[in-house]
Symmetry: C2
Subunit: 270 residues, 2 copies
């Protein structure tokens, strides 16, 4: 952390531990064990390690209960996978969980996992370079077209990993399709581009041009420092791409920390 | 065509007609019927309709034979789907077909089809807005990592639809992964970004920012006007996004036609 100039770090489970495919009680036990271990780990961080919870997302009631316990113990939010089997984030039970998060003021970080694609994506980590960003784009498309954002309160804080996957880049394709074909619109009440103020994305795109593009589309207040640390495909020196972009100092500070502190409710602003 | 200021239009089959999943002789018959009909149609275009061939890609020998017949009859190139079942464009038989295209000087246009994803992508044309651009990105990733470009001659002309899908935007993610994990590299001999001069993409991204991004990454000589016409998700007024970008006149002319004429060998330059 000191090497990369990181003051504060959010710590979460790796998606491998989600256990959404297991019976809900098993996933609840996994979450409890993980959350307790994480809380213990973070107490040793002298305030520099910030824990966010894992929950058994396949069962909304249990997920809400475990998040409540985590928040009471000092956790600052929750990380979820972007889908539970065939249920995406527009599924009514998952929307209910997100509504609960909004009601208790818990920010939600969404990480792609359990990637689609089959045998054509088995080699060379193609599931990570191709399916993961497509999974995240799919989640955002489904939240928009499935009417999830329309049903959720505006004060829900929700952030998507890896710069929102391929969502921002393919927004023009979705927007054009939305206007030209009624069957594309689903349950959405307005064009996809009007939902950009309903979520945030992290900065983990590993490329100056791509990061500038994401900041341009999302706006400078909606992109939070993301590292993927300590995953091997993460950024080797956390924050290096942001620092190399030549953003104005105030914007750089927002991207490096201000936006994330605000998202986590740790900016002292309330 | 006159309404949108289109002088010349390339005409190809819709992927629905590829028949790659059928026995090769059936697909050969489909290709023959389609190519004959297309040749007849294009003779009525007074030189403004340019036919490119369909081939039974599941059988390299038959595919080469039908392309040879098409070229002899005046076709200017070939359109292929981006995969044949589980075989992608790094498959040895498909690479052999691409090598044949290079040897006879036939430009290749690659269109995504037969999209992965399953039931989570069935609603709202998500297979078109999510899987199609991911399919194209997968093809390019596989051609690079699978060593297809390394095995193919540099004079192969190959162009990918829809601005190359999400490839250019996610190139930073692939590049970072390539450098950080050996298992990502596959059979490739150099980082992914060094292969950008081996292919072209069309301009069908339906968004100024996305088009500028694609032109920035690919270079102004490697982006060809694409319309998706008359598919309903295509550009309503062909060329409108290019014209709205405020490119320098020379670059705009390249994007609107010069690059495509060069790709098709119709620029009079030989």
């Amino acid at each position: 952390m000191d090497r990369d100039g990181v003051d504060v770090q959010v710590v979460s489970a790796t998606p491998v531990l989600f256990a959404y495919g297991r019976p809900a009680e098993h996933a609840m036990e996994c979450a409890r064990i993980f959350n307790d271990a994480l809380l213990e780990l973070c107490t040793k961080g002298h305030g520099r390690l910030v824990p966010i919870a894992q929950v058994p997302l396949q069962d909304t009631e249990l997920a809400c209960r475990e998040l409540e316990r985590g928040l009471a113990a000092g956790m600052k939010g929750v990380q979820i996978g972007n889908h539970v089997g065939d249920r995406d984030l527009d599924d009514s039970a998952l929307v209910e969980f997100l509504a609960y998060c909004a009601s208790v003021g818990a920010p939600v970080f969404v990480h792609p996992w359990d990637m689609f694609g089959g045998c054509r994506l088995e080699a060379w980590m193609l599931a990570w370079t191709v399916s993961m960003p497509a999974e995240t784009q799919l989640s955002l498309n489904r939240m928009i077209l499935g009417g999830a954002f329309d049903r959720l309160p505006r004060d829900l804080r929700i952030c998507f990993a890896h710069g929102g996957g391929s969502f921002t880049f393919l927004l023009g394709r979705l927007e054009n399709a939305w206007h030209r074909r009624d069957i594309v619109r689903g349950l959405s009440t307005a064009p996809p581009s009007t939902y950009l103020d309903r979520f945030e994305v992290d900065s983990a795109v590993y490329d100056q041009r791509a990061l500038r593009y994401v900041v341009d589309v999302m706006g400078p207040s909606s992109v939070l420092l993301g590292s993927d640390y300590p995953f091997p495909l993460g950024e080797e020196h956390v924050g290096a791409v942001i620092r190399s972009c030549g953003f104005a100092p105030e914007m750089e500070q927002r991207l490096l920390g201000g936006n994330a502190l605000e998202f986590l409710g740790m900016d002292g602003g309330g």
